[in-house]
Amino acid sequence: MSFDNAYESLLGHEDAHWAFGTGFSEALSGVDREFPAGVDKDALASYCLMLGDDALIFSQRLSEWCSRAPELEEDIALANIALDLLGQARMLLTRAGEVLGRDEDALAYLRDEREFRNVHLAEIDCGPGPGGDFATTIARLLVFSSWRLALFSRLRGSADPVLAAIAEKGVKELAYHRDHAAQWTVRLGDGTDESHRRMQAGLERVWPFVDELFATHSVEAALQGVAVDPASLRSEVDGVLEAVLSAAGLTRPKDTRAARVAGMAGRDGVHTEVMGYLLAEMQHLHRSLPGAVW
């Protein structure tokens, strides 16, 4: 297309021009979407919702930084990470939807809070809202991406070919996310007294939500060979965090654990109070115009 003539090319309205953003079919092209024999499909759908909701809700939080980051380069980097996670969410919700008979948007916009399966770490406000700052955001990103990278590395061997393919694509992204967070953790830990103090405070803020990441849920236990048991990731993730914190001159917070609610947490659809507001904002337009096409 000659961009001197950007306008004229608009009139040729071919769908092929508009592929951008629908990417998941291309990312997973050639992947067998049949369900492997013997797999509990309902459990698989629940599992895809868990991993998909983690990515969707964290992406929603990260995109709050857009136009608010400390530097333009960082604005671009955080948007990039949010986009990667949104892409992972879309593939995972689509996979869940193949069992549930709903598309990605029905799952993202029309489920109520109790039906969301994400961990609390993904939903809490770590800034730019009043719940944190850039250091808290980096602390969450470090923990989340270290954990998810370890998880996706193992998920590449899943008996579900779609999950395996999503993981294969995801590990490259998550390795970058973890690297980005680790570099900032070191920079902030080492930089100035203020940045050191804020980074340590950021770690203290997110630490109570770490334990939930490694709790095995009955859905995961039921999907032997398909799902990854998060309890098996603990020592690897601890090792990564230990190495980064020590390079940054930071102290690993004491292992405090946020209490569960009547034994339940995010994976059971029991969330923190901020979740309702997050969903209200995310879902309101979609729900306000039933039957609309976007």
């Binding site: 608009l10 136009s67 930089g191 804020r198």
Partner: protein, 312 residues
Amino acid sequence: MADDLELRFERTVRSESRIEPRDWMPDGYRKTLIRQIAQHAHSEIIGMQPEGNWISRAPSLRRKAILLAKVQDEAGHGLYLYSATETLGADREDLTVKLIEGRQKYSSIFNYPTLTFADVGVIGWLVDGAAICNQVPLCRTSYGPYARAMIRICKEESFHQRQGYELLMTMMSGTQQQRDMVQDSVNRWWWPALMMFGPPDAESTNTEQSMAWRIKRDTNDELRQKFVNMSMPQAEKLGVTFPDPELKWNEERGEYDFGQPDWDEFWQVVKGGGVCNEQRIAHRRKAHEDGAWVRDAAAAHAQKHARKEGAA
């Protein structure tokens, strides 16, 4: 000696060759370019806000991804353009301070509010469209780094424009409520989009010298006419109208006749009286000030690191 340099500069510009950062250039040329490129960079950065306003509420995941990627591109455009000013001896930090202190301007269009999701589409179609009309000639501007940045920016802007138009096409194929939303949005953005080409030629102060220096290549009124001519068939295809009773095809001229925007409103918004002027600057100021400790930390870390390497 100075005369030789000036002659060579003028010859280079006249022959449509590029001036590069190390070439001699008149002070006025340098200042004008820094002002123009910085204003453009600021526009990209401030322009992230009106559209960013809808990222958290985008009504489908695909639209959310497209919008987030678009706003991210705008940050990237700001970055190339600030870099182009740095080749002229300016400093990004200094320009940012000038922006948040109101000493440098940005495109006034971003002082208008985005009130519905249709605005995301209309900004892509009309606002990015008008920006492309303004910017395509700059791909041939006399200053090399600016011209090269503009080539990349125009390609990406064209992509955004198509995405915006595609969103509107999709919405027009939806419910009546959505079609009404699109028409309402077009009614609100059409006149501000026409204002993006600047005041009528008779009142424009910077045009003549900039044309001679090949920093600017078409007059405000020429570009505005071109924009109207291009937009009309697209509006018809989309099924919307523009809110201008004087807009009609002039057989004799082979162009559309159209009315004039409300220039009083234009000047009021330029001078700070728009719905969002204060909000946009306050938002940018807050991000810059809240981020100061992060930038300080990064600099301190880099310095310690450099010292350690130097010692080793």
